[in-house]
């Protein structure tokens, strides 16, 4: 049986359509995925993402151990700062993507994907070096994502400290509805917003208090379907769908996350830095149809790759996707063909992200 988050009964009571994702029964949508998507783009939405894994690295060697485990330069982090990073194998293939929060000089808090949590913990334990210990705290934490231009307005009255002093990609302790929480200004939607780490056994009242504030601001509870269309519009990758252990960061367009000097896989990645044989590109369909994962992609009649993600973009009102494409050109405007159900449909390459937020409301 699939795992359930501590909010499973809340989702049922809200009438959510549940779906199995990464070994978890998760809300796919509550009312309409489209309305939930629009709520996040224009007001705010509240997601239960407690399926994500949380791992803590502690000890005087925690920073050095993380510098060895992940590709980004963890030494650039000051206390309370966060960075996006990758675990890679010796061949330079991506084991997972993650967010690293530095809570203190000897304490790192790492968030990993749900489906890969068990494998990541095993991988990190196997490659742990120096004076550092690793603690899988995934069961102890619930994780709520409050996202959208009105997220700060919705959250502000519930927490003890003013949110305008919480910068993007930082984290700090606070109290929410009487419950000790970690509040981070991070997310996976392309909007301003927060991720709230709440002790699993205290999350129900926190969720209810947040949801009431979200509704006051015209927002909605939002499910995984909206989360997927939001992250895709924002050009954010999904591990296991857009990248996996056969993909290098260069191919996935994640070279900007490869900044460390001691990480596993460095030799292979340095050797492969020049001219990856394929690149992840954004595409927009010129004929209607959702590009589906695995659909063949052709350029000038030659098969050059395959789609990894696709959707009808609610914000752009067009069909968008991501695809790996070999060879050149892959510049914006390059015409491609996506073969769907045996039918060739015209598309072209566009720059990512598909959507970028214009203004920031409140703070």
């Amino acid at each position: 049986m699939a795992h359930r988050t501590p909010l499973y009964d809340e989702h049922r009571a809200l009438g959510a359509r549940l779906v199995e994702f990464g070994g978890w029964d998760m809300p796919l949508s509550y009312t309409s995925a489209l309305e939930e998507h629009r709520a996040v783009r224009t007001r705010c939405g509240l997601f239960d993402v407690s399926h994500m894994g949380e791992v803590e690295l502690r000890g005087p060697g925690a920073m050095a151990a993380m510098a060895r485990l992940a590709t980004n330069d963890v030494h650039r982090l000051a206390d309370g700062q966060a960075q996006y990073s990758l675990l890679c194998n010796e061949q330079g293939g991506i084991v997972d993507d993650l967010i690293v929060y530095r809570l203190g000089p000897a304490q790192l808090f790492v968030v990993v994907n749900a489906a890969t949590t068990v494998a990541d913990v095993a991988w990190m334990r196997a490659h742990l070096t120096g004076e550092a210990s690793l603690d899988d705290q995934s069961d102890a934490w619930a994780l709520l994502a409050l996202q959208g231009p009105r997220a700060a307005r919705a959250l502000g009255p519930l927490v003890g400290r003013p949110l305008d002093t919480l910068a993007s990609f930082t984290i700090r302790d606070d109290v929410l509805a009487g419950c000790p929480v970690r509040v981070a200004r991070t997310g996976y939607t392309g909007e301003d917003g927060f991720e709230l780490f709440v002790p699993a056994d205290q999350v129900v009242p926190a969720w209810r208090a947040l949801l009431a504030r979200v509704r006051d601001e015209g927002g909605l509870p939002a499910g995984l379907a909206a989360r997927d269309t939001l992250r895709l519009e924002a050009g954010l990758l999904l591990y296991g769908t857009d990248m996996d252990a056969t993909t290098t960061p260069w191919e996935a367009g994640l070279g900007w996350v490869v900044k460390g000097t001691e990480y596993i896989g460095r030799a292979a990645l340095e050797a492969a830095r020049q001219g990856p044989r394929r690149r992840l590109v954004g595409l927009v369909m010129d004929e209607p149809g959702v590009p589906r994962h695995g659909a063949p992609v052709l350029r000038a009649g030659q098969r050059v790759g395959a789609v990894t993600s696709g959707t009808k973009s609610p914000t752009l009102d067009s069909f968008i996707g991501l695809a790996y494409v070999s060879g050149e050109p892959t510049t914006p405007g390059t015409p491609l063909t996506v073969e769907m159900r045996g039918k060739p449909l015209r598309a072209h390459v566009v720059a990512r992200p598909f959507y970028r937020r214009q203004t920031k409301e409140g703070a």
Partner: protein, 130 residues
């Protein structure tokens, strides 16, 4: 779930509204709910000839893509052009504004092979819980 008593149904979740020798075709409330937000409907051109049980189009949501199966054989005499711009009508109004095509029924005998509302409801229940 809404299953109007005056319509006939296929096991593939299309409905047929018969008026004289014309049949109007769409997908059921159950089908639209299962698909989620419909983002694209591909339909045949007026004049196309349909064979009962063969695909006549495609309905896509972000979640999945499904073939549309002709409930009866016949010639397409009208297509709901509004669905090109507003595929969400299939979700909002599956039995009215979300209709897909109108067919001049070629073989009236085929109508007897379709399900009535009670039989369709039983079919959905068995499929859903089976």
């Amino acid at each position: 779930m809404n299953i109007p008593g005056e319509l006939r149904y296929t096991k593939d979740h299309e409905w047929l509204r018969v008026e004289g020798d014309i049949g109007e075709v769409g997908i059921t409330d159950f089908a639209q709910d299962s698909l989620g937000d419909v983002v694209f409907v591909e339909l045949p051109a007026v004049g196309a000839r349909l064979t009962r049980g063969a695909t006549f189009g495609v309905v896509e949501s972000n979640k999945s893509v499904s073939d549309l199966f002709a409930p009866v054989s016949g010639e397409v005499v009208a297509v709901n052009d509004r669905l090109a711009e507003q595929p969400e009508l299939v979700n909002q109004s599956p039995y009215q504004d979300g209709w897909m095509i109108r067919v001049r029924i070629g073989k009236a005998g085929e109508l007897g092979e379709l399900l009535d509302a009670a039989a369709y409801e039983a079919h959905v229940a068995s499929e859903h819980h089976g």
